[in-house]
């Protein structure tokens, strides 16, 4: 193996060791402290910019859990954050920095919509056709996302191309190409907006429990089922063992006969497939058509924060995803009912990631103040 990739593995290795040393309680404390500190800075900026910080905090809570429609909105975002968060966690856990979940999400969602539109004429209308088309859509989304993830994985494995940078470039390319496709060859007939045609009405996730546009409890169920499947794969299967071993201890993995290259490609494929499923849920549950991806949310990026907050543990993704769902939902509430710019929420998410990356900061603070001294 080349030196540069060995160096990267060593970095990842030491980071992973760091994480293993930290106890669960300490991780939880660090996550909570990171969010609190990030929000505090956010509120400070709100106040400094001349807005009312109390009103900001009130609408933050209101927007996340104030009433049934707010809760449905929170769960809608949470569904996407849980799925994209798991996609990130799969890769990060194996020491592969897949920053390309956003691109895989976009490609997956677009493939879902196009496959449903193209297959619809071949199947009967109604419930049977609807379920059939859902299956087609999800399969297409997972495949497209998987292929789009496998590509940078293969470049890493066989040409030692830095995954962080290739996946970021592929995000730009996915947005640009899909944006062009929906604007030109695949624009729905008579559409003034750059959108594809709508998928048929009967292809949708049922609205039970919550009668809210853009949210189905079935979508959340798919997200939770994905979490369960990934958890089992990562914790209980041979492949998961290989993945996590090669993430934590590259040399040990090589000695025990794990094909490092193959593992990287498979990891990226799996990560991309989950991102593709997230894209499918977004496309079917929320939009019903595909639009210029530069205008849709940055779920695949925020997912990095979700995954890191959960220490890349699939089960931890659920609470972290709910929290981010709440933050985003509050963001849209704040955007409508206050004049505080929504971009603040994006910045706060960035701050959360920054603080999560510096556990030492909190350890030292804890020692200074004598708080939580036993947690070490």
């Amino acid at each position: 193996m080349s030196r540069s990739s060995k160096r990267l593995y060593d970095v990842v290795d030491s980071a992973a060791g760091h994480m293993l040393r930290a106890s669960v309680i300490e991780r939880l404390a660090i996550a909570t402290a990171s969010i609190a500190l990030a929000l505090l800075i956010g509120v400070g900026i709100v106040a400094a910019a001349g807005y009312d910080p109390v009103a900001f905090l009130t609408s933050l809570v209101e927007g996340a859990i104030g009433g049934q429609s707010a809760i449905a909105r929170t769960l809608r975002f949470s569904t996407l954050f849980i799925l994209t968060g798991v996609a990130v966690a799969v890769a990060f856990r194996a020491g592969v920095f897949n920053i390309g979940v956003q691109g895989q999400f976009v490609v997956g969602g677009f493939a879902t919509i196009m496959s449903i539109i193209r297959t619809a004429p071949l199947l009967p209308e109604g419930v049977v056709g609807g379920v059939g088309l859902l299956l087609v859509g999800f399969a297409a989304g997972a495949c497209a996302g998987g292929v789009y993830g496998a590509f940078p994985g293969a470049l890493k494995a066989y040409a030692d191309a830095n995954v962080i940078i290739t996946t970021i470039m592929l995000n730009f390319i996915a947005t640009g190409v899909v944006g062009w496709l929906v604007q030109n060859p695949f624009r729905g007939e008579g559409n003034t907006a750059p959108n594809t045609e709508r998928i048929p009405e009967y292809v949708s996730l049922p609205r039970i429990v919550f009668d809210s546009p853009g949210f189905s409890i079935v979508g959340l169920g798919i997200a939770l089922a994905t979490v369960a499947v990934i958890f089992v794969v990562m914790e209980r299967s041979r492949f998961g063992y290989d993945m996590v071993t090669s993430g934590h201890q590259q040399s040990a993995a090589t000695y025990s006969g794990v094909g490092a290259k193959r593992t990287i490609v498979l990891t990226m494929t799996l990560s991309g497939m989950v991102a593709g499923v997230a894209g499918a849920v977004f496309a079917i549950m929320i939009q019903g058509y595909y639009t210029d991806p530069s205008g849709i949310g940055t779920y695949g990026f925020d997912a990095i924060a979700v995954s890191l907050l959960a220490a890349n543990n699939p089960l931890g993704i659920v609470p972290a995803g709910l929290l981010f769902g709440g933050l985003d939902s509050a963001g849209s509430h704040i955007g409508i009912y206050t004049d505080v710019p929504v971009q603040l929420i994006d910045g706060v998410i960035g701050l959360v990631i920054l603080f999560v990356s510096v556990p030492e900061l909190f350890r030292m603070a804890a020692q200074r103040t004598g708080l939580g001294g036993e947690s070490r």
Binding site: S4, V11, D160, A161, F172, S357
Partner: protein, 349 residues
């Protein structure tokens, strides 16, 4: 290190660049395109201008990595640099900026970057932050707070039209055909960057401080034994890289003349491209500047294709630099990284 040393050590890369250029020319001739219509003096001038922010960022990032710290936060620094320069220009001038305000804004932006870079360096070095995650975080913070600043000032993520830097026309020399247009009738920022690239190269290879930076990344123990503080050298390099990236963002703004905060902002991956530029340039400031020029050229290809009558949709042509990055990383992905990159160093005093 002399130029011949450099060419000896990097035969493959240089051959690669030549091969790509040759392939482009042959392909163009086969497809019966007017090569001269595409590669004009104007194109080179525009490419140099597009390369400037990337080159500045690349040189800074290169210093940080040489010293043993991977600063992947440069994209975030660029966004802050651009947003600060735009808002500063507006505030300083009270809404009607002139040439002097542009330069003041660039300076102010560099100073603000200095503050942010210092905080970031403390987190990376003193508190041993995960360099990759913290760098990504900085990008997200920039994507959030960059447009946020624009909204505070203009109530919109994009600024109105501000002022851009005027070209510097050197009398007499600017009349020289081709060369005159490219070098003596262009943005002074291009010339500034060219001088800076040469200076950064000389500094790194021919001064004591340059050797300290290299030693901090290759063999920190030895530097420590020699009585030089590894930590202090790394602080200097990381802060420098942040300021350079901020400056890159400010320069980008000063050339564009207005701030765009929608989507991935006007920086739109140039910081990431900067990282690839110094990898491609094999950690040599001159190599990085040349690589930046290649990406700048890809960025400016669109206008050329249009004038040559080749219609490729804008949206797709805009993706060329990103595709170029992937090709570069795939073919020249394996670079000789400084051996202590990413490791925090604790002196055993």
């Amino acid at each position: 290190m002399s130029v011949t040393d450099y060419t000896d050590r990097n035969e493959l890369r240089i051959a690669g660049v030549v091969a790509i250029l040759a392939a482009v020319v042959v392909a163009a001739m086969v497809m019966d395109l007017q090569v001269l219509e595409i590669i004009t003096a104007g194109f080179i001038e525009r490419s140099l201008q597009a390369a400037t922010p990337i080159a500045l960022t690349a040189i800074g990032g290169l210093y940080a990595e040489k010293s043993g710290v991977f600063n992947i936060g440069v994209e975030g620094f660029m966004i802050f640099g651009a947003a600060t320069a735009a808002t500063m220009m507006w505030v300083i001038s009270g809404g009607s900026p002139g040439q002097g305000d542009v330069w003041l804004a660039i300076l102010a932006s560099a100073l603000v970057s200095l503050v942010f870079a210092t905080i970031f360096a403390v987190l990376l070095i003193r508190y041993e932050a995960d360099q990759i995650v913290a760098g990504l975080a900085l990008w997200f913070i920039g994507l959030g707070f960059g447009p946020f600043m624009a909204i505070l000032v203009w109530d919109s993520r994009n600024s109105p039209s501000l002022e851009s830097v005027n070209d510097l026309t050197v009398p007499v020399l600017s009349d020289v055909p081709v060369v005159g247009q490219i070098f003596f009738d262009t943005s002074p920022l291009v010339l500034f960057t060219a001088v800076l690239a040469v200076a950064a190269w000389k500094f790194l290879n021919d001064t004591r401080y340059g050797y300290w930076i290299q030693a901090a990344g290759e063999n920190p123990e030895a530097l420590d034994t020699a009585g030089i503080s590894v930590t202090r050298v790394r602080y200097a390099a990381v802060i420098f890289s942040g300021v350079m990236a901020g400056l890159g963002g400010a320069v980008l703004l000063a050339q564009a003349g207005s701030f765009t905060g929608t989507g991935d902002t006007m920086v739109s991956g140039r910081g990431w491209i900067g990282i690839v530029a110094y990898l491609f340039g094999n950690y040599n400031p001159l190599g990085a500047a040349v690589a930046a020029l290649v990406f700048g050229g890809l960025d400016m290809l669109q206008i050329q294709l249009q004038t040559a009558g080749i219609s490729v949709p804008n949206r797709l042509v805009n993706l060329f630099p990103y595709a170029g990055v992937i090709v570069v990383l795939t073919v020249w992905g394996t670079t000789r990284t400084p051996s202590a990159v990413g490791e925090s160093y604790e002196s055993e005093e």
